[in-house]
Each structure stands twice: as structure tokens, then as C-alpha cells.
Symmetry: C2
Subunit: 332 residues, 2 copies
């Protein structure tokens, strides 16, 4: 450890006090222009960087945000992170990414880590299985601002930013049901999550409102493999197989595609497909999968705004929504 230029060393060289150096470096009006200049020059020369530990110890919180997601290998979360990183960088903060591996226990460990490191704020998309919210309450008790995004709990006492899920479900129904689909299978995620319930509600509300005579069925799955199996099971159990599938997310779509692959069905001839997606994965397939777009990037921007509001003292709790739009592909 050589490169340890400290305030003290600078002050020794210049025969001034530590406090003067400290103030000079942050342009405090109390110190003369001349000393400021000398201090800054030497600091530059010595490659001085304030010791983050000491600063944080003093200020009692660090300048890094944490983002906790079930799995980062996900284009939606990826673009979310990107948006937050951009904004954080702009105000001199940085971002640390934590994965819960979809395991509430790991999630809690990560929260401990955040508490332990007194992060400036936390963005979190909860696990499918998260039920105990006390670790989150604990965070608020020690004044660490918290913004839930995408996968948010149903609890009303938290700040949340989410996709306009109802609307995107409605939009999906609108496009899929006006196509020739006779028998539609909805493949949804964990039905305890509000994201799932809202998207399904949006879809089925459209369905009922327009008094569709088509057959509608719903299955639920927590991850790729379950989604694949659920589709295969449904096809095995129903003589009259579906003519279209609605998938509520990228992850579900991967499972659905695997099932379609296994069943050797052709898209869109044998089966039509519509998903809700961030937009990257659907373009990798042939034909392109049609999707209702939900932008992780925009959600990140929105979340950051909310975070700053909270940090600025606006403590009132609310939930924000982000709108979505339809991108036709070749799968319908």
C-alpha cells in the first residue's frame, strides 16, 4: 500500500493544518484563494483521493446505491440497471448489483449487506417467494430509502414503481384476440405476484368485456422449466389444443418456446405466440416473436426519479406506473 496520500501528508508538506487542506479541497469560503491553489496543486500532484471509509464513517452513509434483482441475466433488469447507473453516475454515486438467485434467504442476506454498508438507497425487485417483509421494514426504520420495482409486494406501505401491468395485459388481449386465435392458453408467472395478477386481470377483463367466445385457459409457472412442463402438460391433457399462447414474460417465453420446439409445432402456422418483453429476446427467433414492450430502461429512469424524491425528503408513499406499447413480429 503505497499510494496513500492523506490530508495529513499534504498539510505537512505545506505547513498548514489538516482542516485547512480539507476545506481548501472543497472550496470552502473560509480559506484564501492562494492556499486553495497551493493545496489543490499538491493534491493533484500526489494523486490524492479521499479515503472513502473515513468519509463514510464520518457521514454515516456511503454513496452507492444497491439494486437487488432475482437474476441479473435478464434483459429487462439489465436495461433497468443501465438506466440507474447512468443517473447515479451523474450525481457522483455508484451502483452495486446484488442477485437474490430467486431465494428469499439470499435476498435477506443481501439486505443485511446493504444495511451493513449503509447504502444510499435500494432498488429491489423481489423474489417470487418473498413473503416476509420485515427485513424491508427494518431498512426503512434506519432511514435507508427503498424503491420496489417490477416485482413489487402487495403491501401498501412501500414505494413502488411498476409497469402498467393491467394495461399491458389488456393490450396483449386486444392484439391476440383480434387475431384468429380460437383457443388461447395464458402462461403466467407466480400468481402471488401482483405483476402476474394484474397482467392476467387486464387480459381477462378485455376478454370478458368483448364477450369473446374463444376458449381461454391459464397455467402458472415459476421459471423456464416449469413453463415448458406446464405447456406440455396442457397439450397432453387437452385434445383440442390451443391455437395461440400468451406468455407474460421473457422467461416464460423461453419455456414456452422449448415446449413448442418439443411438440414440433410451427409458428405461427400451428400456434400463435405473443409475449410481454423488453424487446431483445423476441428478435432473436425466426420468425420474430410479437410482443408488448415494457422498457426496463424507462422503468429505471422513473425509479431513480422516485428515489431522489424520497432522498429529498418527500416521504409520502406512492406507486408509479409506466406505459407500454405493441410491437408486431411474425408470430401472429
Amino acid at each position: 500500500m503505497r499510494n496513500n496520500a492523506t490530508l495529513k501528508k499534504i498539510s505537512d508538506h505545506l505547513n498548514v493544518s489538516i482542516s485547512t487542506v480539507s476545506r481548501a479541497l472543497k472550496d470552502h469560503p473560509d480559506v484564501s484563494p492562494d492556499t486553495k491553489k497551493r493545496v489543490k496543486e499538491l493534491a493533484m500532484l500526489m494523486d490524492y483521493e479521499p479515503n472513502a471509509f473515513a468519509v463514510n464513517l464520518r457521514k454515516k452513509h456511503s454513496n452507492v446505491f444497491a439494486i437487488i434483482v432475482p437474476e441479473i441475466s435478464n434483459f429487462f433488469y439489465h436495461s433497468f440497471v443501465q438506466a440507474v447507473e447512468e443517473d447515479a453516475r451523474r450525481i457522483g454515486y455508484s451502483v452495486m448489483i446484488l442477485q437474490s438467485m430467486n431465494d428469499p434467504e439470499v435476498e435477506e442476506q443481501n439486505l443485511r449487506l446493504c444495511r451493513h454498508n449503509h447504502v444510499a438507497g435500494i432498488f429491489v425487485a423481489i423474489t417470487n417467494k418473498t413473503t416476509d417483509l420485515t427485513p424491508f421494514k427494518k431498512l426503512e426504520a434506519i432511514d435507508i430509502p427503498l424503491v420496489f420495482f417490477d416485482k413489487v409486494p402487495t403491501d401498501d406501505t412501500f414505494n413502488k414503481v411498476s409497469i402498467a401491468d393491467y394495461e399491458s395485459g389488456w393490450m396483449a388481449a386486444e392484439h391476440l384476440l383480434t387475431a384468429t386465435a380460437k383457443h388461447v392458453l395464458l402462461v403466467m408467472g407466480n400468481n402471488k405476484l401482483s405483476i402476474t395478477r394484474r397482467r392476467e386481470e387486464g387480459f381477462t377483463d378485455y376478454y370478458h368485456k368483448h364477450q369473446c367466445k374463444k376458449k381461454l385457459a391459464v397455467v402458472y409457472a415459476d421459471h423456464i422449466e416449469e413453463a415448458r412442463q406446464a405447456v406440455l402438460d396442457y397439450f397432453a391433457a387437452n385434445k383440442n389444443t390451443p391455437t395461440a399462447i400468451f406468455s407474460m414474460s421473457d422467461e416464460i417465453m423461453c419455456g414456452v418456446l422449448k415446449a413448442i420446439h418439443t411438440l414440433k409445432l410451427q409458428i405461427p402456422k400451428d400456434i400463435q405466440l405473443l409475449t410481454i418483453s423488453n424487446g431483445f429476446l423476441p428478435t432473436l427467433f425466426t420468425p420474430d416473436i410479437s410482443f408488448v414492450k415494457t422498457s426496463g430502461y424507462d422503468l429505471g429512469k422513473l425509479s431513480f426519479v422516485r428515489m431522489q424524491e424520497i432522498m429529498g425528503g418527500k416521504k409520502f408513499v406512492r406507486e408509479n406506473f409506466l406505459t407500454s406499447s405493441y410491437y408486431p413480429g411474425g408470430s401472429m
Copy 2:
């Protein structure tokens, strides 16, 4: 900020000194079993957690590792991170993920952040465009251990852990050239990177050693879109179009698939395809893409071992390699 149980508060309640509390909590032999018990009980009751800032300030380094990758939305890096996280957790460390966005400037900012936070160690996969290695040298000068993985610089003075790239290129050639391919197009990444050069070398060495009479061509691309365009350009420029494509990575494969899609070619009838991959993406397509598997997870494990060696004082510089194997799909 309420939950601030400190050593001092505990010591006050128990009428012992701060140092005794500190030692009691870490089972120092100097303190009596009885006091230990009392201290630990009260600490538990007060929900005491050591203040990380103070600990780090004292110890001069934190217990978090940093992983810097061009883009985290990548299954290879994702499984790498997973492996490192597992091992780090085991020794009480945590991991922070940083993205360079494939931009050397952001990469350097991230390195600054690491230096600034005195991370325990850094795992880094460099940018395609990284040429200036001085920021990395600077890191070693202040004793922050550094392990390059996957995308490593050519410089010989660093610790590196990488895929046995030559071997995987060789293996790919072995399988692709014994298939009926008459005219093979190699789509490679940035050819300044050793990963690219080695994979290509492995492939072409096999080709020459076996005196294949087939036509061989190589194009380079830095990202998905460039890969797509490179393939389209090659097809446009060559009357005799390739019968097979070798892609050196998941990312390149995505571009290649888009091009194949644009050209409306059938796999494997019109064009055969073999890629090097972590194994997730190839299974999402129909037919499955054949691939030579490189495990990000295993690479993570290996890198962590190397990191621990360095931290343990074994300073000698070396490069480790990880072997790969072939997974047949339906694309050949």
C-alpha cells in the same frame, strides 16, 4: 437512524471496556467464558452489527470483491458471477458487479471506484477496446489483487484465467469440418483480443494440419449488429455462399442468427452452424444450435481459487486454462 448498537453502548450496559466487548465477540482467548456469554447475549439482543466503515477504515480494505465485465446481460458472465458469489459468501465476503458497457472510459471509472473503495480484489474481463493498461498497473501498485478472466490482455505481467481457447477452436474445427461443410465462414470477435486469436488459431491449425480442401474465410465483428452485417456482406460478396458458419461466442451467434433469418436460410439444410457457448442460448432455438461448451461457472471457480492464492501471498504471475467439450445439437 436508530439501530446503532455500538461496542461502546454494549460496554456501557455491561460495565466492561470497549476492547473487552470487541474481543469477546470474536472469541479472543483473553476474555473469560462468562463475560463472553454475557456480551454475546446482549449483542444479540441489541441486534448489534459491526460498523463496516469503521472496520474497513481500521483494516484498510473492505471485504467485497468487484467483478468488472463489459456487459452483465450475458449468460457466460452471469454464471461466472454466480460461482464467484458462492465462494465469496463462503468466506464472508460479498461481490459487487460493475459494467464497463464495453467502454474503456467507464472501465477506468469503475477501476477508480474500486481503488477508492479499497475492494478486496478485482475480477475483470476487459473491454474490446481496452489498450491502456496503466490503470490496472496502478491497482497492483496499491496491493489490490487482480485476476483477468475470459477477455484478458496480451500483457504477460498479469494473472489471467481463461478458457482453453486454442483447444475449443480446435475442437470446433474437428466437428464442423468432419461434417459435410464445403465452405466455412468463421465469424470472430475483435481480433485484437487473445480470446479471438487463440480460437481462430485453434480452428485454422486443425484445418491446415488435416489439409482440408474446403474453402475457409474469416470475418470479424465487435457486437451483434456488426456480426449480422458482416455475414450479410460476406453472402452478398460471394457467389458461392458458405455451407457452414462457425461463431466464436453467444453474442456473435445472435448476430449470425439474425443474418440467417434475414437471408431466409434453413438450419441445417441451407447452412450449418456451430458456436462456442455457455450452453443456455443454443437450446432456445429450433433446432438446437450445436456448441462447444465453455463453462462460466467453472471459470468462476477457477478464478476464485487463483484470487485466494494471490491474497494468500503467492505473487507469481501465471495464466490458468479451463478445458471445454462438445455438445451436439440439431444445427449440423
